[in-house]
Symmetry: C2
C-alpha cells in the first residue's frame, strides 16, 4: 500500500493553521497561569506542534504574548466603537444616557455569540490578567485599549459635563476592576454565594455590573449637578 501523498494527508490544514493553533494554545494557557506560569513547551504540546515552531513564527516568548494580545484587540475595539456610535446616534442630537454608554462598553464583552466561544473566553480572561498585572497593566492596557477608552470617557463627559476632573477616571477604574474580575472566572462568587451566583453566568454578570456601575456614574452626575445649582 502506497502512502498517501503528503498534500492529501494535510489537505485539511489550511495555510496558517498551525500558527493559529499556537496562538490559541498560548491564549488558553497564559490566561489561566499568567506569563511566567506557562512554558513554550506546554504551548507547543497543547497546539500539537514542535517547540521550535513557536519561536519560528513569533520569535521570543514575550513577542508571542504580545501577538496573542494583539490578535483580538482590534476586533474587540471595533465592536465597542460601533456600539458607542450606535448609542450616540440613537440619542442624537442629545447626549446619550449614561446607562446607554455603559452598556455599549460592556455588551460586546459580556453578551453575544462569542461569549460561549472558548477562544474569546480565554482572551477576556487574559485581559483580566493583564489589567491587574503590576508589571504590565499600565503599559499594555494603555497600548492596546486606551484610545477607545478615551472615546468612552469623552462620551461620558458630555453626559456629565460638570464632573470634577478625576471623577470619571476613578469611576472608569471601578468599572474596569469589576469587569475584569468577572472575566478572571475565579469561582469565588460561587463559593461566597453558596451557589446562588455563578462565575460563568456572564449574562447575569452583565446585568448586575451594568446596573451597579450606572448607579456609580449617576451619583457623580447628581453631585456635579448639585454643585452647579448651589453656585
Amino acid at each position: 500500500m502506497r502512502p498517501l501523498p503528503r498534500d492529501v494527508n494535510r489537505s485539511h490544514r489550511r495555510k496558517g493553521d498551525r500558527r493559529e493553533a499556537i496562538l490559541d494554545a498560548a491564549e488558553a494557557l497564559f490566561s489561566r497561569h499568567g506569563y511566567d506560569g506557562v512554558t513554550l513547551r506546554a504551548i507547543a504540546r497543547r497546539a500539537g506542534v514542535d517547540v521550535a515552531l513557536a519561536n519560528y513564527h513569533f520569535g521570543p516568548k514575550r513577542d508571542l504574548f504580545d501577538a496573542v494580545l494583539m490578535r483580538r484587540a482590534e476586533i474587540l475595539n471595533a465592536w465597542r466603537s460601533e456600539a458607542l456610535d450606535a448609542a450616540i446616534a440613537q440619542a442624537a442630537p442629545a447626549a446619550p444616557e449614561i446607562e446607554a454608554i455603559i452598556r455599549a462598553y460592556l455588551r460586546p464583552m459580556l453578551t453575544g455569540d462569542h461569549v460561549s466561544d472558548e477562544g474569546w473566553k480565554n482572551y477576556f480572561a487574559l485581559i483580566a490578567y493583564v489589567n491587574n498585572s503590576p508589571e504590565w497593566g499600565g503599559q499594555l492596557m494603555t497600548q492596546f485599549f486606551d484610545p477607545l477608552i478615551e472615546r468612552f470617557i469623552e462620551a461620558l463627559r458630555l453626559s456629565i459635563p460638570e464632573a470634577e476632573p478625576g471623577d470619571l477616571y476613578w469611576a472608569y477604574h471601578c468599572l474596569s476592576g469589576a469587569l475584569t474580575l468577572a472575566f478572571a472566572q475565579t469561582g469565588r462568587i460561587d463559593h461566597l454565594s453558596k451557589g446562588v451566583c455563578r462565575s460563568d453566568d456572564l449574562e447575569s454578570a452583565y446585568e448586575h455590573i451594568a446596573r451597579f456601575v450606572t448607579a456609580g456614574f449617576e451619583e457623580i452626575r447628581q453631585k456635579a449637578e448639585a454643585r452647579r445649582v448651589a453656585s
Copy 2:
C-alpha cells in the same frame, strides 16, 4: 584585636528575624511578579539569606506563598471586624447606613498609618494578585477572607432586606474588583488621566471608590424598595 563574641555580632538580630526577612522579601516579589514569576533564589537574595533557608523554614515554595498570605490576614480581618462592629454600634438599634458599612470595609485597607508601610502595601498588592488569579482566587480568598466578608454581606442585608438573593453578591463582586485593581498599582489610571489621577494616591482612591460603590448598593436598595411598594 579579638573578634567579638558571636552573640554580640548577631545581637541586633532577634530570633526569627531572618524568617521574617524571608517573608518580607517573598511578599514584595510575589506581589509584583506573581507566584511563577518569582524564584526562591530571588527571594533569598533579597532577604540576604541562603537559598536553602527558605526551604528549611517553610518547606516547598507553595507553602511559603501560603505563609506570606496568612501572616497579615488575621490582623487585617481583625481591623475590619472592629470597624464593622463600630459602625453597627454607632447606628444601634437601627441598622447602619450602607455608606458606613462600605467605609468600614474599605477604610482599614486604604487609610491609616500602615498604608505608607512598604510591607502592607506589598501585602495588599498580593491580595489583588490572588483575588484575580483564576487558579487561586476562588480557593485562597475563600479560605482567608470569606468568613469576614459574609459578616459584611449580612450587615448589608439588614440594611437592604428586600434585595434579591444574588444582588448583594454581585455588588460585592464589583466592590472587590474595584478595590483590588486599585491595589495592583498598575499605573494605568495615571496614563489614562494624563496625570490627573495617581495610582499611588490611596486616599483619593478611598473616597472615589467609597462613593461609587455606595451608590451601587443604594441603587439596589431603591429598586428593592420600589418592588416592595408595588406589590
